[in-house]
């Protein structure tokens, strides 16, 4: 047999399909799978939350009180007590099955949140930004709305689900998880915005019940919209935890018109 020098006619060791095609097919598949898994588990959380009674919730999260004390979140002073008293007033219109404690935290960020265990944390910047008692009552009612709708548990459950999903993908910070973060971020934001709007609606009803009118309901959102820190309506809007302030104002106006609520002067703080 004679040796004959020759080059291969074609290369069978590599695929000749365009890599972009493979990339988009696989990416769409992964987005679909992760999106559906997250959505389903999220719905399961909503289902499970109904089985957590307020007593159970309080027993589980009683220890969180300690954390706030240790982390330097202020426990007691005059400002807190008046806020707590206002919370009591709002509570007459918005019943929660367990006592709610208000805590004030020193922060430049205009914010307030409801945390499991019946704690509402209000940032000092938010207190400074509001001029009326009604505006403050709306914020507290909004946080109570989260408790009433069990949003704190839903958000926490979804957080655990997310951790589980990313652990299954090989932990955060891998190529795959980096690529799929926008998918879960989008769904998290969509869900969160929906819960925020729901809490706004609950708060609007409570404010009307408390004062007989809804003056001051949009005070905070007007401050945020005027500060230039509002969520813009472009692309980032889809990944934000809260709807844009201007959008919330419009939604509140629409809802109050629908429910026949009226506007009147607000009380000073």
């Amino acid at each position: 047999m004679k040796y004959r020098a020759a080059l291969p006619e074609h290369n069978d060791n590599v695929s000749h399909e365009h890599p972009l095609k493979e990339f988009f097919v696989l990416l769409a598949g992964a987005i679909g799978v992760i999106g559906v898994v997250y959505l389903m588990l999220g719905l399961f959380i909503d289902f499970a939350v109904d089985y957590v009674t307020p007593e159970m919730e309080l027993r589980i999260f009683r220890t969180t009180d300690m954390i706030w004390e240790e982390s330097g979140v202020q426990k007691d002073d005059e400002r807190r007590q008046s806020l707590q008293a206002l919370m009591g007033e709002v509570g007459t219109c918005l019943k929660i099955a367990y006592p709610i404690t208000v805590r004030i935290s020193e922060s430049e960020q205009i914010n307030a949140f409801a945390v499991p265990g019946g704690t509402v944390i209000v940032h000092t910047a938010l207190l400074d930004a509001l001029a009326s008692k009604n505006g403050l009552a709306f914020v507290l009612a909004h946080e109570l709305g989260h408790f009433q709708n069990r949003d704190h548990l839903r958000a926490m459950g979804r957080g655990i689900v997310l951790l589980a999903i990313f652990a299954a993908l090989g932990g955060g910070g891998t190529d795959l998880s980096d690529m799929l973060v926008p998918v879960t971020d989008y769904e998290t934001a969509r869900f969160s915005q929906e819960r925020e709007s729901e809490a706004d609606a609950t708060a609007l009803r409570a404010l009307n019940c408390l004062y007989g009118h809804i003056g001051g309901a949009t005070e905070l959102f007007e401050v945020i919209a005027g500060s230039g820190n509002d969520v813009d309506f472009s692309f980032t809007h889809y990944f934000s935890s809260h709807p844009a302030a201007r959008q919330r104002i419009a939604e509140l106006h629409r809802l109050s018109e629908q429910l026949g609520f009226s506007l009147a002067d607000t009380l000073p703080k």
Binding site: Y3, A5, L7, E17, L20, G29, A30, D175, L176
Partner: protein, 146 residues
Amino acid sequence: MLDLYFLLALVVTGFVVGQYLEKRHYQSIYKRERALVNLVTTSSKHPVGDIPPVTDRRLVQGSVVVSVDYFKRLLAALRNFFGGNVRAYETLVDRARREAILRLKESCPDASQIINLRIETSSISKGRKNQIGSVEVLAYATALYY
């Protein structure tokens, strides 16, 4: 949001630059393979054909390390999710094997024949997470002079 733009920039850069470099590398491979095609190279332990007495024999080798671009790395990560042929890495190892053999041949242009050609492949970033995947291919053989 910034993370996403950053990732997107890396993927696009990886794709554009990676495709360009790969194309250029293949062109160089084709050209050099044509130039060296007449140097008899086999994996046989015995010389090919009837040859005059051998005057010299030498161990020759060529090696290369090739890395994948960011786009291909992501493509492979996606592929790991579903399973199947990791096509993204096929050109990586193909280029590395052919480049290693070319370097081996270029190291002994005066040889009469190359026999006993062997190829070894090893992964550079074995088992380490989040490392750019790169591969080393070592080709070694015996060059005969007559």
